[in-house]
């Protein structure tokens, strides 16, 4: 079963969708066409390019100079900046969606960043590697060393990732700060969504990454 069959995206041809990462296709599917999006930690702009094909007005922030320059060279509206320090400069309700794709674990203050995301955007989409994934657990349990995966290949001493969490941890954080989960997905090792209506512990064990569509909770 190919990823494209699992994640059809309106208006995107099959051969075209093959160019994009599975989690990007999933995220793009959560964004209403025509909306305004800020992608925090946009890397080289792959997701922004995918969003542009869907008529979405996308902006990006990226920490690495090389990443920013490649984005600008692609004609994307991307600025160099740090999620931890620069989000405070964005006004309330500036975007329909703020996306944090595979970046949460690299922030110094994940909770503050998450709060900022939902202040700047009416909705936030957050995806992150699940440290509760069975392979991670196995590496620590059996191997006795910090886990390394295809998506997180760096050793513990030279990784940019400093705040790992599990899907369960993230759900608890959302509860603690009163964020509502509109949609939640767990993707397996191949980027395929796990079946809906599975208990949380299954997701936490078998999800390689979590993708969440969040909205502000009551009283926010």
């Amino acid at each position: 079963m190919s990823v494209q069959e699992v994640l059809p995206l309106d208006g995107l041809a099959k051969e075209q969708s093959g160019q994009f990462r599975a989690d990007h296709l999933l995220v793009a599917g959560m964004v209403k066409p025509g909306s305004k999006v800020l992608d925090v930690g946009c890397g080289e702009g792959d997701l922004l390019q995918l969003l542009e094909t869907r008529g979405i007005d996308g902006r990006g922030i990226e920490l690495s100079r090389e990443g920013v320059n490649r984005c600008v060279a692609k004609g994307l509206a991307v600025v160099q900046g740090d999620a931890d320090t620069d989000l405070v400069n964005y006004p309330d309700d500036a975007f329909d969606y703020v996306i944090l794709s595979q970046t949460l674990q690299a922030t110094r203050q994940p909770k503050v960043v998450l709060e900022n995301l939902l202040r700047i955007g009416r909705r936030a989409i957050v995806s992150f590697p699940n440290f509760g994934f069975w392979r991670m657990r196995l590496q620590l349990l059996v191997g006795g060393h910090m886990p390394r995966t295809e998506n997180l290949p760096a050793s513990w001493y030279d990784t940019a990732n400093i705040h790992f969490c599990t899907i369960k941890d993230f759900v608890e954080l959302c509860d603690a700060i009163g964020v509502k989960m509109e949609r939640a997905e767990a993707l397996d090792l191949y980027g395929r969504p796990l079946r809906l209506r599975m208990p949380w512990w299954v997701w936490n064990l078998f999800g390689e990454q979590g993708v969440f569509l969040l909205t502000r909770g009551q009283g926010k």
Partner: protein
Amino acid sequence: MVGVKSIPSPAISADDRSHEVDHPSSQVAQFGADQPLRLDCGVDLTPFQIAYQTYGELNADRSNAVLICHALTGDQHVANLHPVTGKPGWWETLVGPGRPLDPNRYFIICSNVIGGCMGSTGPASINPGTGKVWGLDFPVITIPDMVRAQAMLIDRLGIDTLFAVVGGSMGGMQVLQWTAAYPRRVYSALAIACATRHSAQNIAFHELGRQAVMADPDWHNGSYADHGIHPHRGLAVARMAAHITYLSDAALHRKFGRRMQDRELPTFSFDADFQVESYLRYQGSSFVERFDANSYLYLTRAMDYFDIAGDHGGVLAKAFAGIETRFCVVSFTSDWLFPTSESRALVHALNASSARVSFAEIETDRGHDAFLLDVPEFLDISRAFLQSAGKARGLTSKEG
């Protein structure tokens, strides 16, 4: 006795230079008494003229016009041989066939700013009221004044919306002023190595340069034209000091180090023993051949006064509220005259205004001057930004 050689007199006569002041070799737009230029200082400047160059052709729907704004000591000769020095245009890295600003695709306009000395009305021009050179009787001008004059030129050329306004340093300030004053007339803006306000340190450097000019006995309180001389020594010193701020320690070290000029041992004098000294003296003396001392005073002053936020109640974001212009802001890591932090403050304000903005910092040790040099990463980004804006604007290139 210690040997001293002073800065040499300019090789080009004052007559040659002053001819360009009122009768430039480029195109000129004249504005008569019915179209005065309203200056920020409260004076109406009339009559006045703007000298400008154009490259390429305006397309049928007038949508491919690009305005290039020059830096402090630049002029309209952006991509052609300079009529006074005979040197190539100052921005041939960016402008020309196959370059990011290709005349085959865009109609490129570059005007000499008001207050300049290459054909636009300035302190070196003849005051029609007295028949003598303006000198210090010329009113003090600002960056918004320069932009207001450019807007009158763009009107004269029959262009409503500029596809892009592009500039570095003082040119970048004009770009930002254009977007703040005429947001609907600027489709895209490329602002390089600049800031929304001139910093205290930069004002300090400018004051140093002005005092050097004024300390020259040939300056004669600005009326040197009446004495048939030019304070070239003071102006050369001003240029030497400014030139250091355009470079970086790393670039100077790479280029010159502590190497000596045509000798192995020091002469134990104040002659130019070091290569870096010779280089600066050359920069100073070649500058005075083409530039007017009073014009230097007026243009540096215009930069000092520049403060977009100050013009909008201290809130920079207000200047760009609701703007639809596509921005690209570029800074250079080794630029200490307009450091990245200044560009970042601008980007924050543009973000707060919800503007469509890209921002890239280019890694280079070549200092502020990097925008004039062949820095491939910078040129690639400029090209990509203009191309994507062109695509959004529906510009079709001749080469397809």
